[in-house]
């Protein structure tokens, strides 16, 4: 048993192509073979028929004319398949093929009644026959037969190759035609993002494809609907909580100063943050109506950092390769403030902001020197309500939504947010735009 087994090619396209092409080539060869043998049979029939009458006539002519004139006549009676030799010919053997026997029989029929005749096959290619007979004046005559088909026309191989090419082309075209919608469907499924309104699949084309496209579009709408509903519920709850929280806050403020009041106010602040972040998260996935505008990135980042500095926060700016970019600036500001707040809260109280260009991409990095995040959690913390073990702590008051909001919004403005641990400790958040 060989260990290397025939393996299907990986793509559906090449498999289909192989099957179709192999099938068509086999069918083609079969019909060619049938045609060829049919042609052979009829040609043989014709040949044998003419051989019989022709040989009878030719032998009669050669017999009648004087022996001296015979050589002059030879070219006139010679045919493509058989020639006349004035002489005993070559020695041969009596065994011969079926075809040879057919031919011999015809020759005997044509001449045997008048002349003694023996037919032998000449060893060699196995096809050559010689009929030896003696004319009425006693001189020997040999009919040298080379039974063969009329040669195949020269253009036939070209036609064959052309047909093969046509087959390959048609197979390839058919396969492509049937595979393309499948690829489009896969692409659409890949690109499916309920947060951004993407183009629905084209529902035209062959029935099965149109049906698949319709089913896919319906599924897409359902997913979008679920996401929207989830967001709306979150928004509604968050929103409706605001009035009672306002009342509680006001009432707590009126109360006498006490430890209880302090705790109440701090709890309320926590709830308020959660509600606000919940709303912000709901909105970040819902896609805001903000228009993009061209901003000077340098001053945008700088003014943001200065606002932090002016409230006494340790936020600094390093490299600032600005330039103008087109973006939704309020969303971008939210992303940056969330990340800076995060760095201040969990990253040791200080944040450094840097802006650099990597070819066509602008990368804004927010870096801290805090404890960083374990490598296997770097992606998970971008999900809503995912917090690191131990950071779920009342003092820091994190909601677990800050990074999720930043992540969603970065995607909503056509960018991306990735986290990485810095060399020498600390976390860096990279926002890539453009």
């Amino acid at each position: 048993m060989s260990t290397r087994r025939w393996r299907w090619p990986h793509t559906m396209g090449s498999r289909l192509f192989l099957i179709l092409l192999a099938g068509m080539i086999v069918a083609h060869l079969m019909s060619f073979a049938v045609l060829f043998s049919e042609r052979y049979m009829s040609a043989r029939q014709v040949m044998l028929g003419t051989l019989e009458t022709d040989v009878a006539t030719s032998v009669a002519i050669l017999d009648r004319i004087p022996a001296a004139e015979r050589p002059q006549w030879l070219p006139r009676v010679n045919r493509g398949n058989y020639q006349y030799i004035l002489g005993p010919g070559s020695p041969g053997v009596p065994e011969m093929t079926q075809r040879g026997r057919d031919i011999a029989e015809r020759i005997m029929e044509a001449t045997g009644t008048h002349y003694p005749v023996t037919v032998q096959s000449i060893p060699g290619d196995g096809k050559q026959l010689q009929a030896h007979l003696t004319l009425s004046d006693g001189s020997p005559l040999t009919i040298d037969v080379h039974p063969r088909m009329t040669p195949i026309a020269e253009w036939l191989p070209y036609v064959l190759v052309l047909q093969l090419l046509l087959l390959i082309l048609c197979c390839w075209f058919a396969v492509r035609l049937s595979i393309r919608p499948l690829v489009a469907l896969a692409d659409a499924a890949d690109a499916l993002n309920p947060n951004t309104r993407s183009q629905p699949l084209d529902e035209h084309g062959p029935t099965e494809l149109a049906q698949a496209a319709r089913a896919f579009n319906a599924m897409r709408d359902r997913i979008a609907h679920f996401v929207e509903e989830r967001v709306q519920i979150l928004a509604a709850i968050s929103h409706d909580l605001q009035t009672p929280i306002t009342r509680m806050k006001l009432r707590a403020e009126m109360a006498e100063d006490s430890e209880e009041k302090r705790k109440l106010v701090s709890d309320l602040a926590e709830i308020q943050t959660l509600v606000r972040e919940g709303l912000a998260y709901a909105r970040s996935t819902g896609g805001d109506s903000e228009e993009a505008s061209r901003i000077d990135l340098g001053s945008f980042v700088e003014s943001l950092v200065y606002d932090y500095q002016d409230t006494g926060k340790d936020v600094t700016i390093g490299e600032n390769a600005g330039g103008a970019i087109v973006t939704r600036r309020n969303a971008l500001r939210r992303v940056l403030t969330n990340l800076i707040d995060n760095a201040i809260k969990y990253g040791g109280g200080a944040a450094e902001v840097g802006v650099r260009r990597e070819r066509d991409t602008v990368v804004i990095s927010i870096m801290d020197r805090g404890p960083g995040i374990p490598e296997d959690k770097l992606e998970a913390v971008l999900q809503p309500f995912v917090r690191l073990e131990g950071s779920r702590n009342r003092e820091t008051g994190g909601t677990g939504l800050g990074l999720a909001i930043a992540h969603q919004l970065a995607a909503a403005i056509g960018g991306s947010l990735t986290l990485r641990n810095r060399e020498g400790g600390g976390l860096a958040a990279d926002i890539r735009l453009g």
Binding site: K249, I295, E302
Partner: protein
């Protein structure tokens, strides 16, 4: 020695919030009138004037934005309005300010925060020169190569690129363009620049001026916009024009 007691009208559909706020503000020396909706607000304002209106955005019937626009078009157009919004984002703030609100506060808010804002708005509107006292919807101030968008609080260069300003930078620039061609000393600038974040960490005026010059691409040695007046202070030397170009 202020004998005048500021009169504040609170328009909010939640009775408890209204009353709690009213109690707190009264305790802190303000006179307060309450209205549950736009209809009551109109009724009251037909016969009375107030110093400031606190207006909730979410109201039954006409909402706060509609009422604010209405106020700006009527006889109370110079009464400052402080909006209470439920949404804590830029879009809402900008819509509110475009409708003519002077400031905004996000719910849930603390009463002392509201008091601080009310005082800041009152101080600011009283200090502004008469020609700029009314915050028009979508007002733009043009000077030199720049336009200052007073609702979004950023600069726009002559190619349409937005140049952002920090809060302190905006307030200082606003003081300058509100008082063009007038020499302002550092104390004045500091006082006028204190906005609603009055309790924040104070940057020195000189540093802020140098940052502003950077934003305006102003040459520090030969400034075209903010000129230094030796031993006195600074003067904004460009003529300022009010345009309504924003749309």
């Amino acid at each position: 020695m202020e004998s005048h007691v500021d009169h504040v009208l609170i328009v909010d559909d939640d009775r408890e919030i209204r009353e709690l706020v009213s109690t707190y503000l009264t305790k802190n020396g303000l006179r307060v009138t309450m209205a549950p909706d736009g209809r009551h607000m109109r009724q009251f304002l037909d016969a009375n004037t107030v110093d400031l209106i606190v207006l909730d955005v979410m109201l039954p019937g006409d909402d706060g934005l509609v009422l604010c626009r209405e106020l700006r078009a009527g006889k109370h157009k110079s009464t400052p309005v402080l909006m209470l919004t439920a949404r804590d984002d830029e879009t809402d703030r900008i819509i509110g300010l475009e409708m003519g609100a002077d400031d905004y506060l996000t719910k849930p808010f603390a009463a002392r925060e509201l008091l601080a804002r009310i005082k800041a708005v009152l101080r600011r509107t009283r200090m502004l020169p008469p020609n700029l006292q009314i915050t028009e919807a979508g007002q733009m101030l043009a000077f030199g190569d720049w336009q200052l968008d007073t609702t979004a609080r950023h600069l726009i260069d002559n190619e349409g690129t937005i140049v952002a300003l920090s809060g302190a930078e905006y307030r200082l620039l606003r003081v300058f363009v509100d008082h063009p061609q007038r020499v302002l000393n550092r104390d004045q600038l500091l006082n006028l620049t204190q906005g609603r974040e009055a309790d924040m960490f104070e940057r020195s005026v000189d540093l802020l001026v140098s940052r502003l010059r950077q934003r305006l691409k102003d040459d520090a040695r030969e400034p075209a916009y903010i000129k230094t007046v030796r031993s006195e202070g600074y003067v904004f030397s460009m003529p300022v024009e009010i345009t309504e170009a924003r749309q």
